[in-house]
């Protein structure tokens, strides 16, 4: 191991405010990464409480706790907050912390813009929360915000639209920063094909973001003008078409699911080799599979629209294109399994979450293949089967990859170890409860339970009871995660420089633990 540790301290870089001002004015990629991660965890809790309100109401048939309007608001805000507030910022947080260290750069390319990218987020979140207190409350239209229902909403809808604009701006700025950093700031000798896979998945994700966030902004802006300025983009009476909204939304929406998934793939591709003590299998094919998925993701959007009434040719085209994504996705899964094969495996918490990801994400991938079949989706569209499917890939896939990453890099970030036994408890409790929550939803969906309903026919009662019990169990188990992290930061054991035997990217091999506030002011020497 060539440990040329970059330890020379840069205590003084001019202005260094303390306290809260440190966080507000920071341009340090590590501080900003930390901000993103805490923000995301807070949003995860807020969105989680909303999910529990939904599950509470659905515990029994009948209306018990909330009225249908508020129920719809909960579904909408849960979806928006989880996607835009919890999952996406979490992975941007990882990107900020890790990309500069992984490629041997001193910081992100645009350090000041980086500060802005983050500090826009709390304002967007505030708009979403304020919308609950406007006349008519938050919009009850679903996270997809389909027209023309959006036209009937109160001003909470406008606040949500502005929030989406802000979130989009933040994502675009973050992405430009990531692209520029990766393309321009790599240490000499760090060729593109030598980068850790995490950097590759983020590079491609950043391009997806730059390409699709403006499309979403367009869709919601058209909604805004339809609401207030007399346009009729989505209103047939004025020559518009409500289906147009769906095309625009899903042209953003499908790449969005890969925006969530690809960084998760990246994290897992760092963790699995480290605990297999064996290099990632098929690095080059991993890179091309990632690019292939990203390109295909632009031509499959209408698989969310098999029931709007497309012609046969449309149904078939989108079905074939969607099924095709299974090929590069399959390549990834095979590569991860091949990385483990004949390794020297150990199962510390990060590896448990990574293997959990691999197994459960693939399960969600297979139900995705089932849904891609237009004929079958006619039965399953807008039922709980879909809810189960996307929670397997997002709420389990992305979240488990996120947990794997946090446990893996926590020592690097804080210089402290978490409690391994508690970490394992966190994994097992999570994996059991989340499957109780979502597995049964496949059955409810197959048997015919529509999604986004506050009350349901009697035959779905048992499935919903099980699911609600699982959801509360999962929710409570996440408090254990909070406890583990806080106690590691406060009083965890000191971490060795390289706590994971098989970790081999620059942040482990060329920097001390914890990582100094400023790293790689002089680029590392790579052979």
């Amino acid at each position: 191991m060539s440990a040329v540790l970059d330890t020379h301290g840069h205590a003084d870089h001019g202005y260094h405010p303390g306290g809260i001002m440190r966080w507000i004015t920071t341009t340090n990629h590590k501080d900003i990464g930390t901000l993103y991660l805490w923000f995301s965890f807070i949003m995860f809790m807020v969105g989680g409480v909303m999910a529990l309100v939904i599950r509470l109401e659905l515990f029994s048939p009948g209306l018990q706790w909330v009225d249908p309007d508020f129920f719809n608001q909960m579904t909408t805000m849960h979806g928006l907050i989880m996607v835009f507030g919890a999952i996406m910022p979490a992975f941007v947080g990882f990107a900020n912390w890790l990309i500069p260290m992984m490629i041997g750069a001193p910081d992100m390319a645009f350090a000041r813009m980086n500060n802005w990218s983050f500090w826009i987020l709390p304002f967007a979140a505030a708009l979403l929360v304020i919308s609950f207190f406007t006349p008519g409350g938050a919009p009850g239209v679903g996270w997809t915000m389909y027209a023309p229902l959006t036209v009937q909403m109160g001003m909470g809808m406008d606040l949500t639209i502005f929030a989406v604009h802000l979130l989009g701006m933040s994502s675009i700025m973050g992405s430009i920063n990531i692209i520029t950093t990766i393309l321009n700031l790599r240490a000499p000798g760090m060729g593109l094909m030598r980068m850790p896979l995490f950097c590759w998945t983020w590079l491609i994700t950043a391009y997806l973001l730059v390409a699709t966030m403006p499309v979403l902004a367009g869709a919601v802006t058209m909604t805004l003008t339809d609401r207030h300025f007399g346009t009729t983009f989505f209103n047939a009476a004025g020559g518009g078409d409500p289906v147009l909204y769906q095309h625009i939304f899903w042209f953003f929406g499908h790449p969005e699911v890969y925006i969530i998934a690809l960084p998760a793939f990246g994290v897992v591709s760092q963790v699995i080799p480290a605990f297999a003590r064996k290099p990632l299998f098929g690095y080059a094919s991993m890179v091309s599979a990632t690019a292939g998925i990203a390109i295909l993701s632009f031509i499959v959007w209408a698989h969310h629209m098999y029931t709007v009434g497309m012609p046969v040719a449309g149904q078939l085209f989108f079905m074939y294109a969607t099924a095709l994504i299974a090929v590069p996705t399959g390549v990834k899964v095979f590569n991860w399994v091949a990385t483990m094969w004949k390794g020297s495996l150990s199962f510390e918490t990060p590896m448990l979450f990574a293997v959990g990801f691999l197994f459960l994400f693939t399960l969600g991938g297979f139900t995705g293949l089932v849904l891609s079949l237009a004929a079958v989706d006619i039965q399953l569209h807008d039922t709980y089967y879909v809810v189960a499917h996307f929670h397997y890939v997002m709420a389990i896939g992305a979240v488990f990859a996120g947990y794997a990453g946090v446990y893996f890099w926590l020592p690097k970030w804080t210089g402290r170890m978490y409690d391994e036994a508690l970490g394992k408890w966190h994994f097992w409790l999570s994996v059991i409860f989340i499957n109780i929550t979502f597995f049964v939803q496949h059955f409810a969906g197959l048997a015919g339970m529509p999604r986004r309903i506050p009350d349901y026919p009697m035959m779905f009662e048992v499935w919903n009871k099980i699911s609600s019990v699982g959801a509360f169990g999962f929710g409570i188990s996440q408090l254990l995660f909070l406890y583990i992290i806080v106690s590691a930061i406060r009083s965890g054991e000191k971490a060795p420089d390289k706590p994971w035997e098989g970790a081999d990217s620059l942040e482990w091999t060329h920097l001390p633990t914890p990582a100094p506030r400023h790293s790689f002011h002089t680029p590392p020497v790579l052979k």
């Binding site: 719809n72 289906v243 080059a284 097992w428 999604r451």
Partner: protein, 378 residues
């Protein structure tokens, strides 16, 4: 220690769960509903076929992974190999999935094509989604001209837990759609306000109802019976409460139903020429109000402000008749207040307006005549 106890607890929990799920699955609805049309049966078959295929693949891939998890462990002293590429394997596992996809796509394509073939129907029915009920118009074939609105029949008391829930809780309507067995029925879907979606699982049909556009679907039910579904596109507050019920009957029964329906329609027809007393209009208006307005304006007339305004004490309701007729007839654009001109006839409109002007705290004492409504229709 704690970690191995975590693992042991987990193993137990997983075992118990597995047993519980398989036990439950035997006793509960857990798969697609029994098919009543050829297409629904085909969907069922394709789904089973694909599930078997992917389950085998899943078991294969994760069989390998779990073997590795148990055999290639550091604590068993396994040394890590260092290879990280193998072109043959990589080409194979790209090509084989492609072949499997073709094998899957072929039967599915046939079903997709059949689903879209709405030609040569025996009966054509237009279905209109309203917030929050369905309108049915028989437009071609036996029964032509029949037209009715179909709304949830489950009493509010059951929903709010003041009465025990019935067998068909949330899946029962006041007027069922009736079709003859074995006939090809084409359903045209559209909507008056926002997008709704018409779904009968047993028929394997689901089609969004788009405001301002007409889409279609078709089915040929092979077995008499009552089949139930729900709206499956979020359409606002009462989205969960607008079920769809189709009664499939023999040809004879169908002809009888058509005859009776037409007779009943003629008898109950609101005769606009007749002179209505204030009390008669109010009584009729109360029914119309209960069927069309309570979801938003509430039985109490208090609405749920600020979204749904109160009619009790409303300046519009207590103001000039013309303005009130106008809003009920033509609705208010960009709000949930729909134009009822297309759904209700002149008598119904006159009745419901008269009712609201003379109920709760409103005491105008005048009556709106059907002729007045007729005159204001555009």
């Amino acid at each position: 220690m704690a970690s191995s106890s975590a693992r042991r607890t987990a193993a137990w929990a997983l075992g118990i769960l597995g047993a519980a799920f398989s036990g439950l699955a035997l006793g509960l609805e857990w798969n697609l509903q029994p098919a009543v049309t050829r297409i629904a049966a085909d969907i069922h078959d394709v789904h089973t076929y694909v599930m078997v295929l992917v389950s085998v693949i899943f078991a294969g891939v994760f069989g390998v992974m779990f073997y590795s998890v148990f055999a290639h462990r550091k604590d068993k002293g396994h040394q890590a190999a260092q290879w990280h590429e193998n072109t043959t394997v990589e080409v194979l596992w790209t090509a084989i999935p492609l072949v499997i996809l073709v094998v899957i796509a072929w039967p599915v394509t046939k079903v997709v094509v059949a689903q879209k073939d709405t030609s040569n129907p025996d009966l054509t029915i237009k279905v209109t989604g309203y917030q929050w009920k369905w309108g049915y118009d028989y437009i071609k074939g036996e029964g032509e001209g029949i037209s009715f609105i179909s709304a949830l029949a489950t009493p509010r008391d059951q929903i709010e837990g003041r009465a025990p829930k019935g067998e068909h809780y949330l899946l029962e309507v006041d007027h069922e759609m009736v079709v003859p067995v074995g006939k090809k029925v084409r359903v045209l879907t559209t909507a008056a306000d926002v997008i709704h979606s018409w779904w009968i699982p047993a028929f394997g049909v689901k089609q969004d109802a788009m405001p301002g556009f007409i889409r279609d679907l078709h089915f040929r039910a092979e077995k008499a019976g009552v089949y139930r579904g729900q709206c499956v596109e979020l359409c606002g507050k009462e989205h969960g409460f607008m079920p769809i019920v189709v009664r499939v009957v023999s040809q004879d029964e169908y002809s009888k139903w058509v005859g009776e329906h037409k007779k009943a329609l003629a008898a109950a027809a609101d005769d606009p020429a007749r002179t209505w007393t204030l009390d008669e209009l109010k009584r009729r208006g109360e029914q119309v109000y209960a069927a069309n307005c309570v979801a938003c304006h509430q039985a109490s007339g208090k609405g749920t402000p600020p979204v749904f305004p109160a009619l009790d004490g409303s300046p519009v309701v207590n103001g000039p008749r013309q303005a009130q007729i106008d809003i009920v007839l033509n609705g208010k654009p960009n709000t949930p207040m729909a134009a009822f001109g297309g759904q209700l006839n002149d008598v119904e409109l006159a009745a419901v307006i008269t009712f609201t002007r003379n109920n709760w705290g409103n005491r105008i004492g005048d009556q709106v005549l059907p002729a007045e409504v007729k005159a204001l229709r555009k």
